[in-house]
């Protein structure tokens, strides 16, 4: 651990968002009132489909977008009316946004130069960050002479050289190819463990969210669907939206009706016992469905439509009462030529959602 790590860890501050709204005009509300608190030093991933307001939220924290109403606190300081440079945030952009005519050194030192830091201090701090990011040999190159991953690292270096209270990432990995994205993900996780900066990372990629985040904030049309650890989000999704958004393939959602004693599918097959009446949505993860085997749940019959062999496992698609169910099975399971499948839905693995609101109904099948 060197000086810059300690400095950033010390600078890390919490972010508190109170009654924050954003609307371009009364008709186009991007973010309805939002309240959320991100802890100091925490790595928060803001996840959602495009157009859900995640980038807007990030830019409002950064100060690049005006807030329509509400407050943003960094630490204990209200910042919503401050210029970006007074907020103590630094940002890494999707397309790096490096200054093409400046060398790597000049790029990283630019913010220090603007803030009037003496030359010697600039050189020292850039050198420390460059060492940390493995950029020491490239300081005299221009961004055009660097590879995608190196440019990404310069962008990160430019952000952390100021020892920001908050580090913001706006889909920084989406321009990289798959292999590099994986490497950068590991690097980012490692970097965060070392410097401990409060980090807000916007992405639409659930793998990035699951692997990087301390907590994931899932946004849908500007509303917080769920804000929890990756594990909790995966195992206890708070809504149908979250259930379908996380997981590959996503959770199966089936329309069911309760008759007071059991939940039935559209074709009348019973999938679970529960003293419920009315319409519900039932969720089960593809990997939780047991094919042919013994499990503590009801067995339903489904028609196999096709299978995809992915090496590590196979994904079956089956027709169940008019809707498609995806099942993840171990690779090479002996079900190749059969048309009918017996699917066991373990009751403990079922999730129940309100049919109208899509919100989860916890404890519907006893303790989970």
């Amino acid at each position: 651990m060197n000086a810059i790590d300690t400095a950033i860890r010390a600078a890390a501050a919490s972010i508190t968002v109170k009654d924050l709204t954003k609307a371009y005009d009364p008709q186009t509300v991007v973010i309805p009132p939002m309240d959320v608190e991100l802890k100091a030093g925490e790595f928060t991933v803001v996840l959602g489909p495009s157009g859900c307001g995640k980038s807007t939220l990030l830019q409002m924290i950064a100060g690049l977008e005006r807030v329509s109403s509400g407050k943003i606190l960094i630490g204990t300081r209200e910042v919503q009316d401050l210029e970006p440079k007074h907020r103590g945030c630094a940002m890494v952009f999707q397309n790096y946004a490096l200054y093409p005519h400046m060398t790597v050194f000049e790029n990283m030192a630019y913010s220090l130069k603007v803030s009037g830091a003496p030359k010697a201090e600039r050189a020292e701090r850039v050198a420390a960050v460059a060492r940390m990011l493995g950029l020491a040999d490239y300081l005299h190159r221009k961004p055009g002479q660097l590879s995608g991953g190196q440019r990404q690292r310069v962008a990160i270096g430019r952000a952390i050289v100021r020892e920001p209270a908050v580090l913001l990432f706006d889909e920084p990995l989406s321009n990289l190819d798959a292999q590099l994205r994986h490497d950068m993900r590991v690097e980012l996780a490692d970097l965060h463990r070392r410097i401990g900066a409060t980090t807000v990372f916007v992405t639409h990629d659930q793998v990035e969210a699951m692997t990087l985040a301390d907590r994931i904030l899932i946004l849908n049309k500007g509303r917080i669907e769920q804000f929890d650890t990756p594990k909790a989000i995966y195992h206890n999704p708070a809504s149908v939206f979250v259930a379908k958004f996380i997981g590959a393939p996503p959770m199966n959602i089936l329309a069911v009706t309760g008759d007071g004693a059991a939940l039935r599918l559209a074709d009348g097959q019973v999938v679970a016992n529960a003293p419920l009446t009315g319409a519900y949505q039932l969720g089960i993860r593809p990997e939780d469905i047991v094919v042919d085997g013994k499990a503590n749940g009801h067995v339903v019959r489904a028609a196999l439509r096709f299978r995809e062999d992915l090496g590590s496992h196979s994904v079956l698609a089956a027709d169940l009462g008019g809707s498609t169910v995806r099942i993840a099975t171990p690779f090479g399971a002996d079900i190749a030529d059969r048309l009918e499948l017996d699917l066991n839905f373990p009751t403990s693995r079922l999730h129940l959602f309100d049919a109208a609101t899509g919100r989860a109904i916890p404890g519907a099948f006893g303790a989970q």
Partner: protein, 305 residues
Amino acid sequence: MIENARSLNIAASVILLAGMLYILGPLYLTLATASQSYEFLLRNGLAWYPGDQFFNNAARIFTETRIPIQMLNSLAVAFSLAIATCILSFLSAYAIVYFRIRWAGVAFALILATIMLPVDIRVITTYQVASNVFSPVNALLDVTGLNGLIAKAFGAPVQLELSVLNTHFGLIAPLVAHGTGTFLFRQFFLTLPKDLFKAARMDGAGPVRFMFDILLPLSRTSFAALFVLTFLSGWTQYLWPLVASSTPDMQTAVVGLARLLPDSDGEVPDFPMIMAGAVIVSLVPLLMIALLQRYLVQGLVLSEK
């Protein structure tokens, strides 16, 4: 389309040759005439081959005509025009691309519309305004009836008058209003990464700092291209300098060249000297292109570096 037929190659070569003759023929005649003496011209008519009198003719341009001082005028006009156009275009494009302005689209459309209104079309109106830059103000006061009120209160209506005819400013200003440069810079700015402005803001640089530290250095080649283009167009302007300047000492070199033709009929013009003048006047733009042609091409292809 790359064809490799022999007949096509021959046809293409013939067309190319014809085009070269079309362009180089007059140029050759200019140079040939410029190097013959006036007496040779009187005796033989058109000069089909070069002679040895070029430096003689060139020296006469400097001693017998006002071309040298007019070249200085041209230089002042072309240079100021290029500088003013560059600055104005850069600033307007910066405003249009990087700031959320309510009517930016309309403003840009209006700026582009000036491309369709060169001086040649609006020369009469432009002349009227140049002869009294306050004439629009006067007209406005008359139309709104304000002048009537002023006349009642002070005894006389307001009639402001200031002519910029026959001044360098008058020669330059009407030519600056041209949208090509704004368009050029706008297109260039749009090729830059969109987040550059935001990144600079995060780094603590305001709009002015961003302009000087980032946008300006990146726009170097566009500046050079626009500078050369405007300089050339300023140097070769004919119509506006002709009407806007009335004394020989205020005229530009291109106008001065045309004025070397005798006013009376029947006299044979001193073509060798005029052609030598044409060669001398062409040297400056030629030099300009030779020095800056690299930037000219780079700036016009608008490639992202």
